[in-house]
């Protein structure tokens, strides 16, 4: 892993002025910290993806097949026939530049090819050359250029420097969505086996073992049971999760990151405590033990193959509906792709909260409910005993995950829940939240260590807004509803705003949640003393 410069050095290195020479004539500099390690052959083979091989972006020779160019041109042609989005987005951009300074990677790096418009032009220039008359006849004058290995390498560099956050598409007068362009760009890269391992590895794990982290069924159960012990130590209450249980009313699926690493683990403890408090008839699945979907960052097809497990497992277990945990891109997949790809979910029923009787009509076709809307409904109906003062040591702000914000519109539900379980809440500035939220900087499978410099650069706009409320209101807690956020914002806060700690929303819920038969709690889930309990010895 390349060493990242000190925060102030990194910040002062940002220069938004483009270079003298035109963008068609510059090549990316594959220096450490700005690109991710290539996909290992074994992971590509597990997924059955083509041209699995050992190679490196740092090498001159990428070991592309001899007919690589034909494959790519054919790949573009096929996608132009399949996705109206691609065709429109290739044709209608007027280069007004409204998107340019909306991208966190451009803001944090100053690299002009991180302006969404240029990221798209990387592909558009080839589209013009191969698929438009003007491009064929006039070449560069028409903004067209030849597809060369250098262009292909540039695609790899910049399509893996985009987190598919869609912020630019909010500002584009034609709704041109760089996420769509990057997704298709990555599909093209994958046609030649040029994925990154931080995506191919988790996707392969998910395919075979049920989750990104490759946790095997017995270990999955063990890990969750470990949290059962932890919860008992804090609350004196023993929760009782079940696994792969047929006939449960609800199948619960969440990102495996919550099972594996802090601080997501505390969020997971929050889920367990909430379900216990409700005496919910639910089950975990070790087969569908992943909410996230790194297939989405590979290709639409891989997305579909990994997502298929959710409906398949709910059918096998005979549950009535599915409840999904806190995750970002998982919810973009569920909201915008799942039912189309793997539905119809006729084996399920329209979700109905067994506690409040609320029918989730907005999920009547997918039959999958977001845990935060489920909890918001519980709180609204006074079904939870809450003591928000147990979060009084926390001054909270909320980071909208890109995917739930711009791929769903999930804005008020988490705020309602947070405000119900915390007394001190402050919003970040309006240009940085809700539909204008900034990416954590490491989404879409780029949360790997060797990419740390770009992650910190991309994470800067978010961190800058957190720092603002930290300075103004003493905010020390950044609440999220995304597993990747929990992992990577911890790193970015540590780097940019070290006094701020990252929490999942259901960890905050669990802190405030009063369980029947609980002992007097002296600490929160992290073992930190609760307000007023600082002097009590364990």
């Amino acid at each position: 892993m390349a060493k990242v410069a000190k925060p102030n050095e990194l910040f002062s290195s940002i220069d938004h002025k483009p270079p003298q020479e035109g963008w068609m004539d510059t090549k990316p500099d594959f220096r450490p910290g700005t690109w991710c390690y290539p996909a290992k052959a074994k992971n590509m083979e597990i997924l059955g993806l083509p041209y699995a091989r050992e190679w490196s972006p740092a090498d001159e020779d990428w070991k592309l097949p001899t007919n690589w160019k034909e494959i790519i041109i054919e790949g573009i042609r096929e996608r132009l026939e399949k996705y109206r989005s691609l065709k429109i987005f290739m044709d209608v951009c007027v280069r007004c530049g409204a998107c340019a300074d909306k991208c966190h990677f451009f803001i944090g790096s100053g690299d002009p090819k991180n302006m969404p418009v240029l990221r798209a032009e990387l592909l558009r220039s080839i589209y013009r050359k191969e698929f438009t008359l003007a491009g064929k006849l006039l070449g560069k004058i028409a903004g067209a250029r030849e597809l060369t290995e250098d262009v292909f390498k540039e695609w790899f560099y910049y399509f893996f420097q985009c987190t598919e956050c869609r912020r630019c598409s909010v500002f584009c007068p034609y709704g041109i969505d760089t996420a769509e362009i990057t997704m298709i760009g990555r599909e093209l890269l994958n046609l030649l086996g040029c994925n990154i391992d931080w995506i191919a590895g988790p996707a392969a794990n998910c395919y075979n073992n049920g989750n990104h982290l490759g946790i095997q069924p017995h270990a999955f159960k063990d890990m969750i049971e470990f949290f059962v012990d932890e919860i008992e130590a804090v609350t004196g209450v023993r929760v009782n999760p079940t696994f792969n249980r047929k006939g449960a009313e609800i199948l619960f699926i969440t990102p495996s990151g919550d099972v594996f690493a802090d601080p997501g683990t505390y969020t997971l403890m929050g889920y367990l405590m909430l379900f216990h408090a409700l005496d919910l008839d639910y089950t975990w699945s070790t087969y569908a033990s992943e909410g996230g979907n790194f297939g989405m960052f590979t290709s639409h097809e891989t997305m579909k193959r990994l997502n298929a497990k959710m409906y398949a497992e709910s059918k096998r277990l005979g549950t009535k509906w599915i409840l999904g945990g806190e995750c970002g891109h998982m919810w973009r997949v569920i909201n915008q792709y799942m039912d189309t790809m793997n539905g119809p979910a006729d084996h399920l029923e329209v979700p109905k909260s067994p506690i409040t009787g609320t029918v989730f009509d907005n999920a009547r076709s997918t039959k999958m409910v977001h845990l935060v809307e489920f909890t918001a409904d519980l709180i609204k109906n006074n079904k939870l005993k809450l003591d928000p003062t147990r979060n009084d040591h926390l001054t909270v702000t909320y980071h909208d995950s890109c995917n739930t914000a711009r791929g769903m519109g999930f804005l008020e539900e988490p705020r309602y829940v947070i405000n119900s379980v915390c007394n001190n809440f402050y919003e970040m500035p309006p240009n940085t939240i809700r539909e204008q939220t900034f990416c954590c900087g490491s989404g879409s499978g780029l949360n790997t260590d060797e990419f740390m410099e770009m992650r910190m650069r991309g994470g800067l706009p978010r961190a800058n807004a957190v720092k603002h409320v930290h300075d103004q209101h003493g905010v020390n807690t950044l609440a999220t509803i995304c597993a990747i956020d929990r992992a990577v914002l911890s790193a970015s806060m540590n780097y940019w705003v070290p006094d701020v700690t990252v929490y999942g929303v259901h960890e905050l819920v669990a802190n405030a949640l009063v369980l029947d038969g609980e002992k007097q709690r002296t600490t929160d889930l992290r073992g930190e003393p609760l307000p007023g309990m600082e002097d009590i010895e364990e």
């Binding site: 903004g143 034609y174 095997q216 070790t286 039912d339 940085t432």
Partner: protein
């Protein structure tokens, strides 16, 4: 390079019309043949482009949700920025097309005193809106040349546009706004380093072309007069398919007319097609209802998945040992 090329192209167009009419005496060609070609290319090209987009399927429902979704009954939905119904989508599209809703969100990012800041920046939105509306007004005003009798609304618009009553003939507000807006759009493209960096000849050319159209029009109206009655005769001839080319209209008219014809002919093959494309953009024209209604992907195909049976076959022993339920016991 892009700028010079585009400027030269427009100068060449002007020279072509000037020499063609003045030297070669091809007023018949520029007054009749060129406009018919232009109209044919515009209508044919526009239709072709729209159809070429429309025939491509929209496999997934991918609206950019820019507001609160439809959710629990007590949570207020943002029905225009995140519509879940057709009516909402029509509202969203109307805001987008008529008021440039998305561009209105624009801000300017700056680094100031070690912080990133987001500044007010509505000039692009304002100039864009001013340009499109003034162009529209000018277009409608010109209908007086192509319709006989001239409909009342054209007169009304004409009157409203000229209400300043400055000078003779009266100055149209739309002329001033049009030229100012096009100039602004050009200047910002040159002055803002990032925008200059991304600009292609295809971005400069339409601006120069529009500037030349505007300037030649203004010259004709306010300075070097042309015979408007004869112009109307020519225009009506084209519309009624009985083309006549009256003599003595003045070469400036032919320059203006040729530039317009070029604009129309060029339109379908350029970025100007955003006019049609914006209506078909899948991130804007779809309701966010994909958890409520199943959307069909016409090319959805079966894929290879790792089934539960395969999974259990692989892990059966470990699962039994861990007390996890299995479908098949060990043999």
């Amino acid at each position: 390079m892009g700028m010079k090329f585009s400027l030269l192209a427009v100068v060449a167009l002007i020279a072509t019309a000037f020499l063609g009419v003045k030297v070669a005496g091809l007023s018949q060609f520029f007054g009749v043949v060129v406009p018919y070609i232009a109209i044919f290319m515009f209508l044919g090209g526009f239709t072709y482009r729209i159809l070429s987009w429309a025939r491509v399927p929209v496999p997934f429902r991918i609206p950019t949700t820019a507001g609160q979704q439809q959710s629990l009954s007590w949570i207020k939905q943002n029905k225009l920025d995140n519509p879940s119904t057709t009516a909402g989508v029509i509202g969203r599209m109307a805001l987008e097309v008529l008021l440039f809703r998305s561009l209105f969100r624009n801000t300017k990012t700056e680094i100031q005193e070690g912080k990133i800041t987001y500044q007010w920046e509505k000039w692009l939105w304002l100039a864009g809106l001013a340009f499109h509306y003034s162009f529209f007004v000018i277009f409608v005003r010109h209908l007086r040349f192509f319709l006989n009798p001239v409909p009342g609304f054209v007169y009304a618009l004409d009157g409203a546009d000229g209400f300043l009553q400055v000078g003779l003939p009266g100055v149209y507000i739309s002329d001033l706004v049009f030229l100012a807006a096009v100039t602004y759009l050009f200047v910002r493209r040159v002055v803002i380093p990032q925008v200059r960096y991304i600009s292609l000849p295809a971005d400069y050319f339409p601006l120069f072309l529009l500037m030349a159209v505007g300037l030649s029009g203004v010259l004709m109206r306010y300075f070097t007069k042309v015979d408007v009655v004869k112009v109307k005769e020519l225009a009506m001839g084209i519309v009624t398919f009985h083309p006549v080319v009256p003599t003595g209209i003045g070469v400036l008219f032919y320059i203006h007319f040729f530039l317009i014809c070029t604009l129309f002919a060029y339109f379908p093959f350029s970025k100007l097609m955003h006019l049609g494309g914006v209506f078909l953009s899948p991130t804007r024209n779809l309701p966010n209802d994909s958890r409520m209604e199943r959307h069909i992907n016409p090319w959805n195909y079966p894929v290879k998945v790792h089934t539960y049976a395969e999974y259990e076959d692989h892990f059966r022993e470990k699962m039994i040992e861990a007390g996890l339920p299995v479908e098949k016991e060990l043999n």
